[in-house]
Amino acid sequence: MVKAASGATANYGLSQWARTDGICMDDFNSDNALIDAALAAGARIETGSYTGTGTCGSGSPSSLTFDFVPKLVLIMGNAWCGFITQGYNNGLFIGIMQYLPNARANVTWSDSTLTWYAISYSSYNGYYANLSPEAQLNFSATTYHYIAIG
């Protein structure tokens, strides 16, 4: 490859020309390849919403489908919100950040579809119980907004 640009940017090494430098196709192809790789490696974000169905528990799990497998999903309702993240015991974890500090979610992934249902865990007796639609972030007719980062 023949590069005519004599300088380069500090972070990605993109071509920087002096007035005496020539113009070369290879410079542009190289720069575009670097930019393409940097964009592909960057964080992806997806936003959307769903309307709660008023159902909960293992027989009525909630689900969201993404264009990629997120590392973090934030879900926000009117009064309740939660997050699901990868990396907790090589799995996922949900925190219901209002009212229920012991709320957890049973979470599964299939391709890029996230499925969950809320449960309550007691450290006293290790008992898990299905929670309400609110705790599953699925109260009837409530609009929930989500942000997925991957």
Binding site: E46, T47, G48, S49, Y50, T51, G52, T53, G54, T55, S60, S62, S63, L64, T65, D67, G77, N78, A79, W80, S110, D111, S112, T113, E134, F139, S140, A141, T142, T143, Y144
Partner: protein, 96 residues
């Protein structure tokens, strides 16, 4: 675009998801709402009745008024019970 799970839950509600732009992948058992029906779906969700073609595409969306009315009645009863339990001095808890 909005996608809806074709099979309703026992309470008549349909799982759904909406985002700007198209879904690259639609889960099995779900289908996309045609653009011309999105507003109707948005107003009615989760209480919708779907018309689905043989190849699994949504061709019609209407509000499931029966399921919605059943939920509204149940919700009113729940709030009344909460208020009664609280001595009628407090409102229902915030939901959602």
């Amino acid at each position: 675009m909005t996608i809806i799970r074709l099979e309703a839950f026992a309470n008549g509600a349909h799982a759904n998801q909406t985002k700007a732009g198209a879904f690259r992948r639609i889960p099995a058992g779900w289908a996309a709402v045609p653009a011309e029906l999105e507003e109707t779906a948005a107003d009615a969700l989760p209480w919708v009745s779907l018309t689905v073609s043989e190849d699994g595409k949504i061709t019609g969306v209407t509000e499931n008024t029966e399921a919605k009315a059943a939920w509204e009645a149940a919700e009113a009863a729940r709030i009344a019970a909460e208020e009664a339990a609280a001595g009628g001095t407090e409102g229902g808890a915030a939901n959602g």
